[in-house]
Amino acid sequence: MKGKSIAESEYIEKSERKDEIENVNRKRRFSREEKGKGKLVVETDLESEDESLVDVSFSDVELPAEEVKSPDEKLSKRSNRRTSGGRMERFRDAARRNASRFAYFNTREEEEENNNNLSVEAEREIPSVEEHIEEKVVEDWPGPFSTAMKIIRDRTANLNVRQGSSSSDQVPSVQIKWVPQKGKGKDGSKRLPPSLLDLSLRVLVDNADAIASLDHVPDAMRHKLCQMLCDSRQMNSNLLDLLLSGSPTEIRLRECSWLTEDQFSECFVKCDTSNLTVLQLDYCGQCLADYNIPSTLARSLNSLPALTTLSLTGAYRLSDAGLSVLVSSAPALRSVNLSQCSFLTHGAIEILASSLASVLLELFINDCQSIDAMLMLPSLKKLERLKVLSVAGLESVTDKFIKEIITARGDGMKELILSGCGKLTDSSLKIIAETCSSLRSLDIGNVPKLTDNSLGYLASGCRSLELLKLCRNTFSDDAIGAFLEISGEVLKELALNNVGKVGHNTALSLARRSRNLVSLDLSWCRNLTDEAMGLIVDSCLSLRVLKLFGCTQITDVFLYGHSNAKVEIIGLKLSPLLEHI
């Protein structure tokens, strides 16, 4: 009971506080319960029915993060949440007044609402009360991030004052001064001649059957060739034999779905693996299983003595036992990628920890559904030199997990990939920012519960961040702008894919700060105009790649008017799409 009322009061407090930040959200919060239910405005009917069902039984307060529910289910859940009628009464009235405004059903907004409230619930699980209070006072930090936020808001507010009350609903955007220049820059219709290397590779791929030998071809060339062959589905076992002949040092096949089990066994049984340093067999589920490892890759206890990099993504038949056999033959492993190996459990991590604790630098376990994050925690902590950790898509990754692993290993962490870990909240980012001072690369795409506070933490904590990937996050334009003001100088790669609120503040900060930015992804950022885009591209002189998928608002004014000759723009109508995969 007590727990629930704390949650309730915080719900109110948090909503009130958030009101100061964003007026628009206030009304939405009150009608949160309505929005998720259906696509029609006919909410009030459901409501009146519900009142009669008022069941004051407080079943567990755990609110699962579901988006689509049947109306009946929702009704009963809602009735469970009825506490003091008065407060709810106020909410309902406010909701009725504003229901018509929210007739348009937007999945993402609803997710936002759900998650804004769910984060309150999640916080309850963390015992300490101080954290709750800390969560809300980022705005009051006397730090560079909040200063930057203030400047940006004042800038917008001044604009408000100057423009008067022209449009009360819309937030007026900051002025961007950029004029397209004719004649300069890249002429869209002229194409650079292809290099001789590319031309010869293409002919080689077309005549792949006629290749007699790949001896003397350096590894880099072999990899390029393999990549093109795999992409065009021309890779076959004969070519694999050529690759494996002699004593190969690196084998990189980014797609092995064409390889059958028999072919795999035949090819690898006679392969001399003593000099093999890199083995990449991605999507090898069809050919790799526990029983053919001992005869092919792990023929003896020291059959892979030089192997430092191993990637066996998609090996869905590989079990913990199979992995154990493999690892015992490869004592020098430094980088292991076992993404999408759905059969592996936390036992696999135990195996890695027992033999590779002092050497393993990189671990990728994206989408390994059977690995429970909390169960693997003790083993994970034993990896003394872990620098790169990727747990993308693992549902069991929670704030508690992050707290524990970062406290143990965060100092040395260089790269963290947490995309799709939907349960994470700002508190995880706080710990990461405070502990991982040498973090170079961070991927927090598709983590919808993160709020602007996270950007604040990152700005003040991770000073060496060179790569940041966001995708479908709900950060505001102001916050991203403020973040870039502080951390933009060091950034080399930035992805703001589908971060819908990106707007002029972001553009201005990018233009001012991102001197070293090489790659930028602004796909689906529909609030950016031609002027904003032009300003970014002309100011970021190191920029070489700009992705603009889904930016239908960008016109030729930008494409032919910008003066950055070195940037390659991908995703609009001019570029052939498949070249860039």
Binding site: R191, P193, L196, L197, S200, N207, H216
Partner: protein
Amino acid sequence: MKKEETVKLISAEGMEFVIDKEAAMLSQTIRNMLTSPGGFAETEHGEVTFPEISALILEKICQYFYWNLQYSRGKETEFHIEPELTLELMMAANYLHT
């Protein structure tokens, strides 16, 4: 062709190819060899030897240089490569950064 604007590329067998400097500079490797400060023999005489590249391949490479210049000036044609040459050509192209 004036002498100052040409360079000489020498194949493994000793066959010499004299081409425009502008064409040769399309190769980053050759460009570095010819413009690096330090008094290399190559810079002085404008000659570069490639003991690992055969005459047939070197000839094809020179053809590529001229084709590239033509392409940049607007005349976009196809550059045909005989399949037998591709492997060696690819490795030479990689070495020459072109």
